[in-house]
């Protein structure tokens, strides 16, 4: 018994949208249902991912749920990101509580990103220090410079690689193919990270329709299967090695790969969409996902050995809540466009709020016939 993805839609992405959150989520959900050939009435459950602080109101799923087909339906809201919401929908389907689920969300509200990130830290120790997502990215990047011998030029080369892909992606937010030189010339934000080595805050909406295997086969000619899914977390007061070793991500990975029966990820996975809101984060994530050996992440990425972040990654498009949906949809598109790609992995996290206490999700997608 497995879950198939039978429809999906993206609306956006851009700096600002001239549309309300509920209208945006409706637009995405309706388009995804149309693509799946379904009406709202045929849904069993509607799952939202969002965060009240990003939406500017409390219980913001109340605003979104009817737009996501939720009226008089079973519904929930997961705050840890889009792949977490997909995991919730899969659990509902695999538990036999539902057969057809929609996961949806929208990032429409303009908010003060550093303030909201800072408010996710504890009130006594780290918040007064001014900790924020970008401050944490800077610390992480510093450790890569110090401990791994990676250089600032390497960071820029990784960013440029993402922008080259984003420039060819009609759904990307930043569509300009910035060169390494332009990236190194962009303003320093948190040393050693420059503005173009940090992802934007992207506004737009997204939705996916998922169905139980037999239903998916009935409704779709080419469903993509969710064959593995897992979650993990890191402790807030954990050690620095907990953080840079990405233990939470590795935990999520073990579960997802075990479900998908993946024993050698480097050989068995063809494509990956990685949440890289700062350029060098792709390196340890690729290593944690087992796509390459530890210590070889930089070369692995720059030599384009696999289809990694063909969407342009989070440097190109970084919706704070819907990012997991965006990456999943980009991985689906990558599988559809590339004959040689049979199996993709999607990595998601809530590090848009910052490091320490962050959570991770990993999703394995497979084309029929793998």
């Amino acid at each position: 018994m497995k879950v198939g993805i039978i429809g999906y839609a993206l609306v956006g992405f851009t700096d600002e949208v001239n549309i309300r959150t509920d209208e945006l989520v409706f637009k995405a959900a309706k388009a995804a249902l149309d693509r799946a050939g379904l009406t709202r009435e045929e849904l069993d459950v509607s799952v939202i991912t969002s965060l009240d602080a990003y939406d500017g109101i409390t219980i913001s799923n109340g605003l979104m749920a009817p737009g996501a087909g939720g009226y008089e339906k079973d519904a929930t809201r997961i705050q840890g990101g889009g792949v977490g919401a997909i995991m919730s929908a899969c659990a509902s389907i695999l538990s036999k509580s539902s057969r057809i689920a929609i996961v949806a969300g929208a990032d429409a509200t303009v908010f003060d990103d550093p303030i909201i990130s800072n408010a996710s830290y504890d009130a006594f120790f780290r918040r007064p220090l001014g900790m924020s997502n970008q401050a944490g990215y800077g610390l992480f990047a510093t450790s890569l410079l110090r401990d791994r011998g990676i250089t600032e030029k390497d960071f820029a080369a990784l960013a440029a690689r993402n922008y080259r892909s984003a420039a060819q992606n009609p759904n990307a937010h930043r569509k300009k193919s910035y060169s390494s030189e332009e990236i190194l010339d962009s303003p320093m934000v948190y040393w050693p990270l420059r503005q173009l080595e940090l992802g934007p805050v992207s506004r737009g909406g997204a939705a996916l329709v998922l169905a139980l295997e037999e239903k998916a086969r009935e409704l779709s000619r080419d469903p993509v299967w969710v064959t593995g899914i897992g979650g993990g977390s890191n402790p807030y007061y954990g050690s620095w090695s907990d953080l840079v070793d990405l233990k939470g991500l590795k935990h999520a990975c073990r579960k997802a790969y075990s479900m998908a029966d993946i024993k050698d990820p480097a050989a068995e996975i063809d494509a990956a969409e990685i949440h890289n809101p700062f350029a060098p984060f792709e390196i340890p994530v690729c290593e944690a996902l087992g796509l390459c050996q530890k210590g070889q992440g930089l070369d692995f990425l720059l030599e384009d050995k696999k289809l990694i972040n063909t969407s342009g990654g989070a440097l190109g498009t970084n919706p704070p809540a819907c990012g997991g949906y965006f990456r999943t949809i980009q991985a689906l598109e990558c599988l559809k466009k590339n004959d040689r790609a049979k199996r993709a992995v999607v990595q998601d996290s809530d590090i848009n709020l910052g490091f320490f206490g962050e959570t991770y999700h990993v999703l394995v997608l497979e084309k029929a016939g793998v």
Partner: protein, 391 residues
């Protein structure tokens, strides 16, 4: 088992003591540790045995965005998944549903649910709650929690010609029960007269018909069949759980009952194989942050007919020694620690079925119902059926 892939049971519940959020001296971290430790102890497992945790709260009241991230009692040291569920007042029911799905789906065998002390430390929760209303059309009216409660109670009263006394009586029942519950916050046992003489807050609701802001936390452990049988002598089995969603705009609602809850109850009863709820349900914990809500819930849940809620309550059937005891804990009316209160509805039913409801134990219940209500003016409901019977 048509709607359950694998059987799921509750094997542990942990409660802290509850107090006023203004008098609280324990930190959120201490409350989390105490509740989690209690649940693990009852289940006879350690944190290393837990495979995933579901955290439930509403961020806006907490003073932290995603407060789960800064607390460390949920297994993050072992890197297990931390699922963060927030659906307003129903987050407890939604979190329980999430854990049940995770176990039933076969993803994990032992999952913990935590109900956060959402209101601990909140400065003005009415102002926060007001932001849950539609921003352009309804929020400017200044709608807060008490107004949400009063709209339903006033409409219900007018439709069926009930009196203030009719409404206050059901709150007196909750206060009487809470006085026997060591885990209740308000244990004064306010009488009908005291309730009617308490200050009017939002007509027709007096102060003692409206819940306090409490502080305290609760945790529950959900297990697969194999784990439940090996770890617990009295596992409490999940029979069915679902939620329902109403419109975001509230102006269309009749405000004389809970029609969405009625639809939901029919769906849940169908899944649980319940045909006569009045006879088959032995104990119920109903979400009643405003005392009279319990009357509207009796009707929507089919414990009596439309407009018969007051008669059912006056008959004594819903007392602890009645044939369908409702809110033997004193309900949310006497203890509202935010989302802990909606997890508690489930935890209380489980304790009742296990025979561990010290001081407020119902006689030999076999099947119980837990309900939660929340979102913008009650946009969501959840209903869960628990049973001692495995099949």
């Amino acid at each position: 088992m048509e709607y359950m892939n694998r059987k799921v049971a509750v094997i542990g519940v942990g409660n802290t003591e509850y107090t006023s959020n203004r008098r609280e001296t324990r930190s959120k971290a201490e409350l989390a540790y105490a509740a989690v430790k209690g649940a693990l102890n009852m289940a006879g497992v350690g944190i290393a045995d837990i495979e995933a945790t579901v955290f439930t709260s509403v961020d806006g009241f907490e003073g932290n965005v995603r407060p789960a991230r800064v607390l460390e009692s949920f297994g993050q040291g072992l890197n297990i998944p931390l699922v963060d569920v927030n659906t307003g007042g129903t987050a407890g029911g939604s979190g329980v549903k999430e854990a049940i799905h995770m176990v039933s789906a076969g993803l994990y065998d032992l999952v913990m649910v935590y109900g956060s002390p959402t209101f601990q430390g909140v400065v003005d929760n009415q102002q926060v709650l007001n932001t849950a209303s539609p921003p352009i059309f309804e929020k400017p009216f200044g709608l807060g929690a008490a107004h949400m409660g009063s709209l339903y109670c006033a409409g219900y009263m007018r439709k069926y010609n009930f009196t203030m006394e009719d409404l206050a009586l059901v709150s007196a029942k909750s206060h009487k029960n809470a006085a026997k519950n060591p885990y209740a916050h308000l244990r004064k046992g306010y009488t009908l007269e005291e309730i009617l003489n308490s200050p009017m807050v939002a007509w027709p609701l007096h102060m003692y018909e409206i819940c306090p802001n409490s502080s305290g936390a609760v945790a529950m452990i959900f297990a697969s069949e194999e784990k439940a049988k090996s770890l617990c002598p009295t596992p409490v089995w999940v029979k069915a759980i679902l939620s329902i969603t109403d419109t975001f705009f509230t102006g269309y609602r009749p405000y004389t009952g809970f029609p969405q809850l009625k639809i939901l109850a029919q769906r849940v009863y169908h899944r649980a194989g319940i045909t006569n709820p009045r006879q088959e349900i032995d104990v119920a914990e109903l979400f009643n942050p405003f005392g009279p809500f319990e009357l509207l819930e009796y009707e929507a849940l089919g414990f009596c007919g439309q407009g018969e809620g007051v008669a059912l309550m006056r008959s004594g059937a819903t007392e602890i020694d009645g044939d369908i005891p409702c809110n033997p804990s004193g309900g949310t009316l006497c203890t509202n620690s935010g989302i802990a209160a909606s997890v508690t509805r489930h935890a209380e039913v489980v304790l009742q079925l296990m025979g561990k409801a010290e001081g407020r134990q119902v006689k030999s219940p076999k099947t119980g119902l837990a309900h939660s209500w929340g979102g913008n003016d009650g946009q969501f409901h959840t209903v869960c059926i628990f049973s001692l019977k495995e099949d």
